[in-house]
């Protein structure tokens, strides 16, 4: 495989020590200990006096590993090296905004006075924590142009559910529950993220799909047609949309929906294209969720924790989840007396540690840095769009914002598909882009570099993609069998789904099963 890398100046990957490591259960040795507790310092009560035997477990936690501290460290450090990560290089997953996760934010989140604060500490004992929430609420209100903010939702999809439930509560109150019952259609573009229809369903809405037009934007005529039926509760729109295109008719779109008596929900997954440049509130959006783990750089952590704040107009504010953090004089309070609230969406106040990191991000950047980050992110995406235009099919003419979509149309002639291109990109040292999304683009490759990538790395990425396009013609098998540089090859996902093995079992039990 190494010869192929020699052809270009792209030398990002070479072989590297990768230690094998079993599951921890296979490392376990009876009698090993990885912890140390102080001895029990109270008079011991006979266990039967505390708990009758029928309420106690009797399996001695069979199967739970017995390992030393050194075993645990080696185990996790070894398997950690099998991961790609932002700190290793460009991670251009479209609509995921994999930007740099600053160490300073991590330090802030670990300040003992926050990290050790109990969530049920009384208000007056948690003033600093509530102040952080309040300051972040104010910043997010300013950034989105929407004054009502709740930080309670734990992730983007959770924020969506919250926002859509608020729409439902608003309509029920505005129209009365009887009349509102006729308004149960949520319009969602065909390019939307799958969480949108799933979240709408949770609020009792049925989904109607809006077509995108040939330019990759919302088809206004289709929108008007769907709105003419009168049962429209709202529209869930991502802007810029998942093709990376700004919906230039956004004000008209909002007007059409509002005229039909519906509300506009914006999926804020793509806010990295807008912060400091334009505000959803000014566009006519009624409610939006943000992803602190995208736009505001809190780490993705291999799949969470996220944080999905909801921002809304003054009209929708009474329906926000409760409690809401408010300021009264110099004091911060938890306001639970909110009769129109949709209710609580999570125990306590949300993913608080993410709020600390996001506020730290906003304060580190300052208002000028926030805008600078947006400009740099859009420029990087535009630079890639320009660099790949001659070798890959770009299905839409429009100038992309922070992400750009290409397809495998030219490569399929030789039997090379998006999945193969993605896998081959790994051999060049890059994490693949988002693939096969949005669903409306056949063989989609959605690329979002973010602002955290320098020019040299962008150039290397473009050169790698072009090199793969050439390989797809000259040596398709090389691409079809990629990746070649990883510790395992493509896994048989069909076999895994037919006979799912979802947990480890001791050998004897596994054989018996």
């Amino acid at each position: 495989m190494d010869i192929y890398f020699m052809k270009t100046s792209i030398t990002k990957v070479s072989s590297h020590l990768s230690l094998n490591e079993h599951l921890i259960f296979e490392r376990s040795q009876t009698g090993r200990i990885g912890y140390c507790l102080p001895p029990l310092d109270v008079d011991e009560t006979p266990i039967d006096d505390i708990l009758p035997a029928n309420l106690r477990r009797d399996d001695d936690l069979e199967g739970v590993p017995e390992v030393s501290e050194v075993d645990v460290i080696r185990h996790f450090i070894r398997i950690s090296t099998w991961n790609y990560s932002i700190d290793l290089g460009m991670y251009p997953l479209g609509s995921c905004t994999m930007k740099y996760n600053s160490r300073l934010n991590e330090k802030v989140a670990r300040i003992a006075d926050f990290a050790n604060l109990h969530p049920l500490a009384v208000e007056q004992d948690a003033q600093g924590a509530l102040q952080v929430i309040h300051e972040l609420q104010e910043c997010l209100a300013e950034i989105t142009g929407l004054p009502g903010v709740s930080l309670q939702p734990a992730a983007g999809a959770h924020g969506e559910m919250t926002g859509v439930m608020m729409i439902r509560a608003y309509l029920d109150r505005r129209d009365g529950e009887g009349a509102s019952a006729n308004r149960r259609t949520m319009l969602i573009p065909d390019s939307a993220h799958g969480t949108n229809p799933a979240s709408a369903h949770l609020s009792g809405f049925s989904v109607k799909t809006i077509r995108s037009n040939a330019a990759g934007l919302t088809d206004l005529d289709h929108l008007r047609e769907l709105c003419a039926h009168g049962e429209v509760a709202g529209l869930m729109l991502t802007n810029p949309n998942t093709l990376g295109l700004f919906e230039s008719n956004i004000k008209e779109i909002c007007r059409i929906v509002h005229d039909a008596g519906g509300l506009v929900y914006m999926d804020g997954a793509n806010m990295n294209a807008l912060v400091g440049i334009a505000r959803p509130g000014d566009m006519g959006v009624d409610v939006i969720h943000l992803n602190l783990h995208k736009t505001f750089s809190t780490p993705h952590g291999g799949g969470g924790p996220g944080s999905g704040p909801v921002c809304c107009t003054a009209d929708l504010t009474p329906f926000l989840p409760k409690p809401l953090v408010i300021k009264s004089g110099d004091e911060f309070k938890l306001d639970s007396d909110r009769p129109h609230s949709i209710g609580r969406v999570k125990a306590f106040y949300g993913n608080y540690g993410m709020m600390l990191r996001a506020l730290s991000y906003i304060l580190t950047h300052g208002y000028d840095g926030l805008r600078e980050a947006t400009e740099a992110a859009v420029l990087n995406a535009r630079y890639i769009a320009h660099g790949l235009a001659s070798d890959y099919d770009k299905p839409f003419e429009g100038a992309p914002m922070h992400e750009v979509v290409f397809t495998d149309k030219r490569q399929t002639r030789k039997g090379v598909h998006t999945l193969d291109i993605a896998k081959r990109l790994i051999d060049y040292g890059f994490h693949p882009m988002t693939i096969y999304f949005p669903l409306i683009v056949q063989g989609a490759m959605l690329i979002e570099p973010t602002e955290s990538v320098g020019r040299q790395e962008l150039d290397q990425f473009v050169a790698s993609m072009i090199s793969i396009a050439h390989e797809a013609v000259e040596n398709p098998d090389l691409v079809l069998n990629a990746p070649h540089s990883t510790r395992i090859g493509r896994l048989d996902e069909a076999a895994a789904a037919r006979k799912p093995v979802l947990r480890w079992k001791p050998r004897a039990k596994a054989d018996a099963a």
């Binding site: 993705h300 952590g301 799949g303 924790p305």
Partner: protein, 450 residues
């Protein structure tokens, strides 16, 4: 801005190379009247030094962390081995995305597979997912799942479930056509009343109990499961104190169908309520109804073992509005923390922590119960929390304990139940020394003499 690699000069060159002159042209597709004319009204940039001191100053306004604490109620102070934070601070884990590309995500995938296995072992269940946001949302998802599985619409939940969990369930089901009924607890034992069985009928999708419940009392899950199953309803068990798995009979062994737990006790700091991690486990026959992500074993062409996200057809990105849940991002890194914790403490450590909690709690309960004017409100068996009924209004007494002795002595139940003004919930864990417990007892003794 130091997080943006390209200098202004480089960016100007890049602009030129794509045929643009200035940054503003990047936003040509945004109508003019929507472009901000002025900068955002957010604070100006702070240096690292300024920023840290600003957060430290705000932190000092939190009085709680300096005190000896007996606060529980769904979030618990436990010993966290140092290596937990070290491992989750590895870039390879915390700056990775959801493992969609298995060839370069095996670290995350294997860790999740171990997490799923450990959750099964501790709960006594057969299939566990890759995590939920927390215990409360996990419980709400369990209720929705019960409706899907049984196609029945009534759910009976014990009133002794964490009040905030009940609020979350109520929010989630309000448009799902599910009727949520509360079943009262026995005022003497604190356990769910045995008359619950009479309310279960052929429209009951599930009964929901928490054990140990919000008042710290352990429920007879096995007996309740028998009642539920007799009418074809599912048994959902919620656990807010995951350390209890180290001592109590696991819900799986009590015939639970769905188990949800808050995993915060497993190596996760209190952090004012989040991020935590929801554990979610079910019987094998419900594996295809489970919400959230699942990791499974898979092999490549050379027969090498690896792990992949599997059974994805349940999820929102494929099934859209018909998905088992809208959940996408979950709590990956916190699940990793819990995994490191469970493996470091191991078979012996998890049991020892649980036993120490139970022993210290028994000691504290006995000492407090002996005080004049104080009594233990419930007689049911307990693990590491219990309700104390004091001689006067709990809020002000707890306030005085905090002020005079720097002890957070418990949670005033009047926060959740207005008619329980003299009651407070005390939690004792392995980190509370005998000296701390004794000073709490002394502090309370002051009130009994008043």
């Amino acid at each position: 801005m130091r997080y943006i690699p390209n200098s202004p000069e480089e960016r100007a060159e890049m602009l030129n190379s794509i045929g643009l002159n200035k940054s503003a042209e990047l936003f040509a597709s945004i109508p003019d009247d929507l472009l901000l004319r002025e900068h955002l009204n957010t604070p100006a940039a702070l240096s690292e030094l300024e920023l840290l001191s600003r957060f430290e100053r705000m932190g000092q306004r939190n009085a709680g962390p300096g005190r000896v604490s007996f606060l529980g109620g769904g979030a618990y102070s436990h010993y966290i081995p140092t290596i937990v934070d070290h491992i989750i601070s590895r870039s390879e884990f915390f700056t990775a995305y959801t493992p969609y590309q298995p060839e370069i995500s095996q670290g995350t995938l294997q860790a999740i597979f171990e997490f799923q296995t450990l959750v099964c072992q501790l709960t006594g269940m057969e299939v566990a997912n890759a995590s939920m946001y927390d215990g409360s949302t996990g419980l709400a998802e369990a209720v929705l799942m019960a409706e899907r599985v049984t196609k029945r619409s009534r759910v009976i939940a014990a009133a002794s479930v964490h009040p905030q969990y009940l609020e979350v369930v109520k929010t989630y089901v309000q448009h799902a056509g599910i009727e949520l009924q509360l079943a009262d607890f026995d005022k003497k034992t604190g356990q769910i009343s045995s008359t619950l069985g009479e309310r279960i009928d052929d429209q009951t999708a599930a009964i929901v109990v928490q054990s140990p419940n919000f008042f710290g009392c352990i429920e007879d899950v096995a007996a309740l499961a028998t009642l539920a199953h007799a009418r074809g309803a599912l048994m959902i068990v919620a656990v807010t104190e995951a350390i209890s798995f180290g001592l109590l009979k696991p819900p799986g062994a009590c015939n639970a169908d769905i188990v949800v737990a808050e995993g915060q006790s497993f190596g996760v700091p209190l952090s004012f309520g989040g991020p935590y991690v929801g554990l979610f486990a079910v019987r094998e026959k419900y594996a295809r109804q489970i919400p959230g992500r699942l990791v499974g074993e898979a092999y490549d062409k050379q027969g090498r073992r690896g792990f992949v996200l599997t059974l994805a057809t349940r999820e929102q990105h494929i099934r859209r509005e018909k998905a088992t849940s809208n959940i996408c991002t979950n709590e990956g890194l916190i699940a990793l923390a819990a995994t490191v914790y469970m493996e470091t403490m191991g078979r012996k450590g998890i049991q020892e922590v649980a036993q120490q909690c139970a022993q210290k709690t028994a000691y504290a309960a006995r000492r407090i119960g002996e005080l004049d004017g104080f009594s233990l409100r419930f007689s049911g068996p307990r693990f590491n929390e219990f309700v104390v009924r004091g001689p006067a209004e709990a809020t002000s007494q707890l306030r005085r304990l905090a002020r005079d002795r720097a002890i957070d002595g418990g949670i005033a139940l009047s926060r959740f139940y207005p008619d329980c003004e003299n009651d407070f919930l005390v939690c004792v864990t392995e980190i509370n020394s005998r000296e701390q417990i004794d000073s709490l007892v002394e502090g309370l003794r002051d009130f009994s003499n008043e």
